[in-house]
């Protein structure tokens, strides 16, 4: 029985989706308001850690598969590097070229600066990179605390 009282559990459950949507909002608006991949990722990871401390690490470990965690982290890193290489392929001849900022065929989705700034669909490749880095940070920070908490907990059979 690791886990806190029922009041804390219920309150953590109520706050969890709010914190998640807030962290994702920070990641998605990284190019408009302060924040970005790392900051929003830290917020989402903290929300997951709140569930970890309220319900206990054994319960959380039962819900999550380790392979899936490592797959998500690799997905984040791969997405980041792929976006950088796409700059080499589609745009001019340098790494991290922001090839979506003034697109020719994709005006409907990424309308660049056509509608004026302060729009979420400006800034080309930067929001996508924010999401890639955010995914990496979420899974990385959460995995650190989860693994540490699980390793220091005594399981049922152990002395």
């Amino acid at each position: 029985m690791s886990g806190m009282s029922r009041i804390v559990k219920t309150m953590a459950s109520v706050t969890f989706p709010l914190a998640l949507i807030y962290g994702l909002y920070i990641i998605a608006h990284g190019h408009l308001t302060p924040g970005g991949g790392f900051q929003g990722g830290a917020v989402v990871a903290s929300a997951c850690i709140m569930i970890l401390v309220a319900y206990g690490s054994v319960w959380t470990m039962g819900k999550i598969k380790e392979k899936r965690l490592s797959a998500f982290e690799s997905l984040g890193a791969l997405g980041f590097i792929c976006l950088a290489f796409f700059g080499l392929i589609f745009g001019a001849n340098y790494f991290f070229n922001n090839f979506l900022v003034h697109p020719e065929g994709l005006d409907i989705i990424f309308n660049g600066t056509a509608k004026g700034l302060s729009n979420i669909n400006t800034a080309g490749v930067i929001p996508l990179m924010n999401f890639a880095v955010g995914l990496k940070v979420i899974v990385g920070l959460f995995a650190i605390v989860l693994v540490m908490a699980y390793a220091t907990t005594k399981l049922k059979g152990e002395k």
Binding site: I26, P34, G41, A45, V145, M148
Partner: protein, 86 residues
């Protein structure tokens, strides 16, 4: 306007409190108390970044300093022992 000297006052007081909290983290022999002092320090450090108009850094400090650092320190203290050896 008289706002000027008030901002100076705030800019002087907040760093002093930060330094005091950081000193406390060193002084306390009880490691839980030291962890609490570190949490208070990172809290006030975030306020200082915020007052210096760097909200990016303040958000990162909020996420990492307030939650993750305390979590890792407490788990480490749980795995070892509570009192600092002399």
């Amino acid at each position: 306007m008289e706002v000027e000297w008030l901002t100076y006052l705030i800019h002087i007081i907040v760093p002093i409190i930060i330094v005091i909290a950081a000193a406390l983290a060193v002084v306390f022999k009880d490691l839980i108390a030291a962890a609490i002092a570190v949490a208070a320090m990172s809290l006030l450090l975030s306020l200082e970044f915020y007052i210096l108009q760097a909200p990016d850094v303040a958000i990162a400090e909020a996420g990492v300093g307030a939650c993750l650092t305390t979590a890792i320190l407490i788990i480490a203290i749980r795995a070892t022992k509570r009192e600092e050896e002399a």
